[in-house]
Symmetry: C2
């Protein structure tokens, strides 16, 4: 159709071997003489088949200067895009999987005991001894939850998050409740983990304490950037710090227990009480227990992440879950045991953690102490990473089910769910900022969500077994029933005891989040219904009103009018002018050249061009609310940069001005000088 261009294409072919010509291609429905819009050959595209193209990578690179700068900046920050074909996760062997999936749970060891003690200390140093029985109760609870999740993993071998289990078995609302509780939980995990990780650092380096909020926010941004890079969780990379943490904690606990039983353990100098001791009440006791339950967060990670295990996935996952439970129980109970035996008391100014004090007492302030503090800090930060894996995954599932904005289901250039990562980062940074990075202030908000999700998930499993009635269904049902009941009671205890300390916020937030899910769902459902395919629309013709702004009847006015004619029968030329004399001359000339196109004059009292034109277009739109107003105008395309200064660029300005005017389309017919 364009001979000059074909010659060019042939010329290019010689220099680029990947270039080929396939002009004989036919498409069903071709009528003779019908020109089809199609790339026949182009250096930017690889043609796979009839009407099937893949862009070559260079075609996706930006062309403009600023665009290229932004592109390089993005590359530097996030790395090169990853092709979809490279999706498909690495499988991890069991030790790697234990390291990757248990960082959230095991990191709780760093603050669990301290949270119990911070409540008991209110009743005086003596009652800190109660830390031990409370820790034992929590260890039992860990046992129950681990056994319950064994069942979930067996029933949902492809991954059974609380949202899936609850909505499949209990219905939409319980499912959304679990999802809301979990999402709040994930946000809190990021806030608590980053704050606690930074706390471990500031215990070792007290002069950093004044900057803990800024450091915490910076850490969150760093982890978010790493996740936006979509770095696949490499087993080895995450294994090392986790195992350093496990081993060093176990060694410290071992030395401590040995010293204690050999009577060589030092005793801590307790911090002075700053207030009068209260009497111990049941409420205070339950509060201390509730606080300790924060140690149980992250146990659900294994059942969410079944897909990362090697075959047999389900069996391996269950093994790892047991290992995780045992390690968590031993380390948590060990810390609690030693803390009470060594007489460690929580620092009222929150400057040194219990674990740091213990480590200092047991092993002194040498390199091993710093190893413990560093590995604690790092595992707390890795715990955040569990949320960064789960929050975007959950929100993408919600987006697919139309309960979250569709953008959340979209994988970015690095295969990460960018929108989920950004949302998680933003909300958790806000939280850290509002709570001034205080772990103690954030923890009460934390456990309610976890235990709500536990309870709903276990309750869902009960219904699951009841419906399935497979082998040994009664045993399984009882196990999950006990789990649901226990976690349900703990949820209530936590909700009541921590209500005034901030749990009320979570209890308000969950229904709010659910109502957002439902509103989003209604919107998408309505949209889907209203925009469903309607066979009767196939033959309707749109009602287009064309406006052609004209300044002088030159060649490009002609071209715009010709373009307008191909669009609609309803054309009006509009001339904006301030000068009566000029108007009369123009009208006379117009009517002789375009007798069939009615001319409308809009007088501009203040000599503006765009403002009266836009006002006229808006008025026209008010008169034709059902139709579409198409504004057709010539646009001069400068061939040299300095020509920009010689033209008003009215078409460009009009396009920009009408970008947000609904029902109005600006079509510019481009022209440029040939010389």
């Amino acid at each position: 159709m364009n001979n000059g261009n074909e010659t060019d294409a042939k010329k290019n072919k010689a220099s680029d071997p990947s270039y080929y010509i396939d002009k004989k291609e036919t498409v069903t429905g071709d009528k003779p003489g019908d020109v089809r819009v199609r790339i026949v050959t182009h250096k930017d595209f690889r043609r796979i088949g009839a009407g099937y193209y893949i862009p070559r990578h260079h075609a996706l690179d930006p062309k403009s200067g600023i665009g290229r700068l932004y592109f390089l900046f993005k590359r530097f920050l996030f790395g090169s895009p990853i092709e979809s074909e490279l999706e498909g996760e690495e499988r991890l062997d069991n030790p790697q999987a234990l390291a990757v999936l248990s960082s959230d749970a095991l990191s709780s060891v760093a603050y669990g005991t301290e949270e119990i003690m911070r409540v008991l200390i209110l009743c005086g140093t003596a009652l800190l001894a109660l830390t031990l029985p409370l820790s034992l109760a929590i260890v039992v609870l860990i046992g129950i939850v681990v056994i319950s999740y064994q069942q979930t993993i067996r029933a949902y071998p492809s991954g059974g998050g609380s949202y899936i289990v609850a909505s499949e078995n209990l219905g939409r609302l319980p499912g959304l409740t679990a999802a809301a509780a979990l999402m709040i939980d994930y946000v809190l995990t990021v806030a608590v983990s980053s704050a606690a990780g930074v706390n471990a650092l500031t215990s070792a380096f007290p002069n950093l304490f004044a900057h803990r909020v800024e450091i915490t926010l910076a850490v969150i941004v760093l982890i978010a950037l790493i996740n936006l890079r979509g770095i696949r969780q490499s087993g080895n990379m995450l294994s090392i710090p986790t195992y350093i943490f496990i081993v060093s904690m176990l060694v410290m606990i071992g030395i401590g227990v040995f010293s204690y039983f050999t009577g060589r353990a030092p005793h801590a100098v307790p911090y002075p009480m700053e207030t009068m001791p209260q009497a111990l009440t049941l409420f205070l006791l339950l509060s201390a227990f509730s606080q300790g339950c924060s140690a149980m967060t992250g146990i659900e990670a294994v059942s969410n992440g079944i897909k990362v295990f090697k075959s047999p996935e389900s069996k391996n996952a269950r093994k790892v879950l047991i290992w995780m439970g045992v390690l968590l129980a031993v380390m948590f109970f060990g810390v609690s045991f030693l803390a009470t035996r060594l007489g460690v008391t929580p620092d009222p100014r929150e400057q040194e953690t219990i674990v740091s004090q213990m480590a200092r007492l047991i092993i002194g302030g040498g390199p091993f102490y710093y190893l413990i503090q560093f590995s604690t800090a790092i595992i707390l930060l890795l715990a955040m990473n569990t949320s960064y894996a789960d929050f975007p995954r959950l929100s993408s599932i919600l987006a697919k089910d139309r309960f979250a904005p569709s953008q959340f289901a979209f994988r970015g250039e690095r295969l990460a769910f960018n929108y989920g990562i950004i949302a998680l980062t933003g909300i958790s940074m806000l939280l850290v900022w509002v709570f001034h990075g205080s772990v103690n202030a954030l923890i009460p908000l934390y456990a309610v969500g976890v235990f709500t999700a536990f309870t709903l998930s276990q309750a869902g499993m009960v219904v699951h077994w009841w419906r399935e009635r497979g082998e040994k269904w009664k045993v399984s049902m009882i196990i999950n029933g006990v789990g649901a009941l226990t976690t349900g009671i703990v949820t209530l205890v936590i909700a009541v005891t921590k209500f005034s300390h901030g749990a009320w916020m979570v209890l308000i937030a969950i229904p709010l989040v659910i109502s957002v899910f439902l509103a989003i769902h209604r919107h998408y459902e309505l949209l889907a219904k209203e925009t469903a395919f309607k066979p009767e629309e196939l033959s309707s013709t749109p009602n287009i009103q064309v406006v052609v702004p004209v300044s002088s009847p030159n060649l490009y006015t002609q071209k715009a009018i010709n373009f307008a004619r191909s669009l609609s029968q309803n054309i009006s030329a509009v001339h904006v002018s301030e000068n009566m004399e000029e108007i009369n001359l123009f009208k006379k000339e117009w009517d002789s050249l375009f007798p069939d196109i009615p001319l409308t004059i809009v007088e501009s009292p203040f000599r503006q061009l765009l403002t009266p034109l836009i006002a006229f277009i808006d008025a026209l739109r008010d008169q034709y609310p059902e139709g579409t107003i198409a504004v057709v105008m010539p646009e001069f395309i400068p061939t040299h940069w300095w020509q920009h200064f010689l033209h008003n660029q009215t078409a460009l300005k009009l396009k920009a001005a009408l970008l947000f005017h609904h029902g109005v389309i600006v079509l510019s017919v481009p022209y440029h000088l040939n010389k």
Copy 2:
């Protein structure tokens, strides 16, 4: 055509008396059944006649929040728009006109003498006495120029600027030379006047000296804002400071002369010489003369502004010009006389002006001294205003003659030539900044332009009289001939003596500016030629290739396809996808629903939507360089703010991304939820 709408219109009519319905209107060329695009009635427009509307003022107000804020800011800064009808300048009586038009010329008194002395001082304090004969020579020159301009005013009673006189009589190139010289001169006037005005201030308040550049720049911006407000030069407003300056200077000179001749005049303590005195050369003498010639700038203002005089304009203008010449001569010579007699020497650090030193000697440091300094500062600033009137006026004449960008011919909302004002401000601020606000450094650049324009204008007048040969043409020709010869010689003297001090810049700048004028002219001429009306184009149909990006075949895909069909026969639906499975399903569904619209698949390796789509559109454009690519796509218009978050706004993003892609038009077919 739309019954619901008509009812609405009728309802509105009742409440708005200015609303009326005139639906019976017919237009020549109406075919039966043809729907015309026309506002029949609308509250925003007043209908003057068939197809003739004037927007009501409220229709031109911005609708959006940010727009309204910007609008209010503009109103605050520049005032409300002025209707074109209010154009037509006030006439001034002779004393007012003298004040308004002579501020540039008379303000030269503030620095003329000092410029001569700054050269002579190089040969030692004794040779400063030569200031007087040099000043006398300049007074003679003033006389010659005033008499010459008397002729110009007589010959061009409607305003005879140098550009008009030179191009009418000498041809395009001399005309453009005069224009270039004048425009450079105007820029320098703004820079010199603002710097000199601020210098007068810092002489009185030496602690402001360190900030003189910033103050000078701020003053230029202030004067520019006042001129953008388009405040009509009110005779009274400008008269007062000018007459205060004239009277106080004359009084000071009078007291000084009286004291001198009565032998009571004090003698100045000369500044110590910082360098060895040079020998006096002819070159130095001529240099001093050249510097003094800067006192003659602004004499041409009267002949540019003939239109502001009351009838008989020409006669009044000539009277005022003589008055101005006499005042200038007396004041300039007076200052030179006293400066030499009182032994005042120029401050080597440029901190106190000659006039300030003289005033201090003659009348002491009291209130009268400050009145002199203030009125000097104000008249120097008013001198800038002459440039702000003349530069935009000259550039608008050049724009009409197609030697300057067309925007310069456009009068803004306040009837000012905004582009000219902004250009003048920008260039003169740059100059002040580059020269650190030093009057002494700027003056050498100054006088060349003025005298070039004088010479060309007078030479033009010689040719004028030669051609006209009216009454007494020989006398007139001789007068202008003497003027042309004298100013021509002075131009040469200035160019030679100041060449190495900066005049070379002006001598380079003038041809550069002329070549810019010519390049602009060539561009517009070529454009006019290429875009001239071509009768054969009336019947041509444009070659439009339509691309419809489709994601799923819903109702709005249908509407987009229907719209596309009304635009062209050549339609291609483009589906961007990353998923082979989805592609096959989609293709099958598409082919069954739209068998006549060929589907193109563009695979997106990195899951982007816009980037491959834009690459594809660009590739298509490469293939059809002669045609227009129209991208038609549905655009969701949110009805609630939160719905923005639930949609990708792909159409909006695509519109923005393709705004600068030549030959590509994005047409969005708007849709929104009905609930």
